[in-house]
Symmetry: C2
Subunit: 184 residues, 2 copies
DNA sequence: ACAATTCGCTACCAACAGTTGCGATACTGA
DNA sequence: TCAGTATCGCAACTGTTGGTAGCGAATTGT
């Protein structure tokens, strides 16, 4: 018999996950990944550092959760693969252009190199959930979907990482054209 | 009258720049950017931490110098732009696939967000020197050359950052095809 | 009332980037 | 040979950070 979804005893968690994640990206935006200390993030969220560590096991996991929250679910698409690709690239460009997102990516990537737990978290929460939706929207096999993600996300992140600026509309159009050449 | 290139007085610097930079990438490869402490790097290079800080102003600058040393000068190319592009993509894929390079990139990108000095160094030592050579080899204007760099380098780095693996030959060929669509 | 759990707070630890000071060393120039 | 200068390796230090431990108070179900 299935366990009834009865509420566990004890004081329930306050509803502040979203506020903490928003404060995380805000602080990373202002101070960079290294400058955004967990003390400062908790102060910006109006809570305590210990509360944050009760919910996320490390700073990298916290920032990863902030990224997941900033991206949200893949937008629904219903066209042919070419149309879908253009819409998805614009969606990604918008999200990566939001304050703090690129800096957060750089930080978790750097941390993940020496942190296997964080690496697993990245793949499970950021790569895997989007991969399957992309395969369907673009009608491509897995390996091709992953390459397209590398191309689009990598290009957008590198631009922000090196120049600190977002892409011009003309560059986004070129990026769409380059990605289209991978649709097969 | 020109100042004679007379050697400055005092004990000359030991010839250990290259050994330190190699030890830097080696250590970043093994332990990640955060795990590669300057203490460990200096130990791996067989020198003292203070000697490193006498030559490079920060850990970020040290790792950036390691990257510059790992890439070396742009290889000479002498074909039409299409041939040159393919050769340059393969050159970049080889360099970014070398141990420690991708992890070093992620680390300096993350640090650069909150360190204007490091941001300037990145552009002056890693972006600017290659941009002009690329414009000539590919016969494209500046903005297009920068976009191609974002596309190629960004894609290669994102693949290593997320999966930790290098690209298959088939993927490199697809990347070349995608970049070619930007040649105009 | 009682058990269970979270909250905010203070205090703490180990590790790291970067600095300072020192004696020893290697070179130049007179 | 002797001063002057700059480097070297070493040890000790500072300030900060990620993360932990322990507490009394608050909030729920039974």
């Amino acid at each position: 018999m299935p366990a009834r979804p009865r509420r566990a005893p004890g004081r329930p968690r306050s509803d502040l996950d979203e506020e903490v994640l928003a404060a995380t990206l805000r602080t990373v935006h202002e101070l960079g990944y290294a400058g955004a200390t967990v003390d400062k993030i908790s102060a910006a969220a109006g809570t305590a550092k210990t509360t944050i560590y009760r919910r996320w096991p490390s700073k990298g996991a916290l920032v990863t959760a902030g990224l997941v929250s900033a991206f949200g679910p893949l937008p629904p698409v219903a066209g042919d693969p070419r149309q879908n690709l253009a819409a998805l690239v614009r969606w990604g460009a918008d999200r990566i252009g939001r304050p703090g997102v690129a800096a957060a990516f750089a930080g978790v990537f750097a941390d993940a190199v020496s942190d296997p737990d964080l690496r697993r978290l990245l793949r499970a929460q950021l790569q895997e959930p989007y991969r399957s939706g992309l395969e369907q929207a673009l009608a491509v096999p897995t390996a091709r979907a992953l390459l397209i993600v590398d191309l689009v996300v990598g290009t957008l992140l590198h631009r922000r990482g090196i120049t600190g600026e977002t892409m011009t509309e003309a560059d986004v159009q070129q990026l769409i054209a380059a990605a289209e050449s991978l649709l097969g």
